[in-house]
Symmetry: D2
Subunit: 157 residues, 4 copies
């Protein structure tokens, strides 16, 4: 039996602007080219393209690219559903890296699975969509699974 939180608010305006402003012109999310693709209450999909810049000599991308994406969506998914002007601090997360990535697009889907006034638990699934050599159609496979805790910090005074 799946039990999921219901959300009292969903700030579509915030979500729309955040999508428009992505990818960021600087910072690690800008370096990776993380683009916010879609928001729903308690959900966020975001992705980055696998460029030559991030592929290592071994032919795969560094795990740190995937974990930076996990960290990014863990926090950003919180904003449209928190009280206005609150701040989401990523307290901790855990990630399993289950397959390497060498081309295509890396996409994360974050879902808030538990939320109280102070804490939320977010789960993240990361997939890689790519075209295998000699193939004509794209393949999508799971590359990472995350679970983390966000602390909701109320605005001051």
């Amino acid at each position: 039996m799946r039990t999921r939180p219901s959300f009292e608010r969903f700030d579509e305006e915030w979500a729309r602007k955040a999508m428009e402003r992505s990818p960021s012109p600087k910072g690690i999310d800008g370096y990776l080219g993380i683009r916010l693709e879609s928001f729903e209450p308690g959900r966020l999909v975001a992705s980055f393209p696998v460029t030559d810049e991030i592929v290592t000599m071994i032919g795969n991308i560094h795990g740190g690219c995937v974990t930076a994406l996990v960290d990014h969506v863990l926090g950003v998914v919180m904003y449209p559903v928190m009280p206005p002007k609150s701040w989401a601090a990523t307290t901790e997360f855990k990630v399993n890296l289950v397959a390497p990535v060498s081309s295509g697009v890396v996409r994360a889907e974050a879902e808030i699975v538990s939320m109280s006034a102070r804490l939320a638990v977010v789960r993240v699934e990361v997939t890689n969509t790519f075209t295998k050599p000699d193939a004509t159609e794209e393949t999508t496979r799971l590359v990472a699974l995350g679970q983390g805790t966000c602390t909701i910090v109320a605005p001051k005074g």
Copy 2:
């Protein structure tokens, strides 16, 4: 996009016997009265009743009861889908405890979300079904979320 493993085998006989033999007459799973309720390929539901024995002075059960259930289902869900005579070692897991438990039934659902020849990632959701004071109907709420790694150990020789 959800991507889940497909399973080459599902040993219904093993699953049926494991359910019949639960709860165990001894051990921590026997102490808690963990009952295996249902198996599907890559899924297991198991539960224990909240007895006076495990409720502390504060009125809640010890978090260790919930984490022992998480540990239990993480390993047991693997057996019907592994090659015969393999052994599933719980390498590590992470658990978020999101609500206290004081009565009713604690139920875990484990799902294998990634599986290779050597490693599997399992996610677990734990709920508590109970009747609130003065209520007539049962409530089910989320109490814990886990994610862990099992190592599949091949039989010797």
Copy 3:
């Protein structure tokens, strides 16, 4: 460079009573016979004996016994150093299980490695001290490593 928190208070009286009252007459900590052995500011050592009751047919103890001990020390280590009447909620933890246990004593050492007004991070190392067949001296080996987050809940009103 190791940086560790300093603690403004250390309630020796609380620690002394908690040690005297352990093992608990009931609950999962009582079932395992968890004994609080020693407290220092930000540190706790606790153990349980490996009895026939908790050894499974395979000859090892259930991982849930070890994770229940981890959960126990994660919370209890907090009490002597928190403001009086606060409550420590184990928000989440992660544990690696690195070796099986079949006899002797299981001992955990918890250390508070970070602490703010609201959150603490605790690390736990679990060892097994036992005598190998045909050996005359005891061996101690690492069996589990944990890291978790406690939320410090202030007393009401």
Copy 4:
């Protein structure tokens, strides 16, 4: 009682070359400027400088910079102590982020705390050394704590 693995080999040549070649000219570790500072058997210290490029509008660095460093040292610490030509795959890790970073240097120390033929557990502590406004001396504080699992993959053939 601390129990730590002993290491049968320590490839100083590998370590020396890896230090010389850091920071990488490309990739996420190159973007951050991660420099390998020192190796000992089972230990690695590495750092990156906090540049304007990685500081966000809020004035702090993205958590993904810290978690990318954790991911990096988790794998790299393994190479000098593994059998030659083995490969270390970061299977999973967990990280607690305990303080923000806005200037100075971010430094991680990785320690292999458990190691078998196939799996290792690595702990990481991340500190930030910086000069507070109006201060004359540097301060070092803890910013993150990690624990993860590496799978040791033997060379083919």
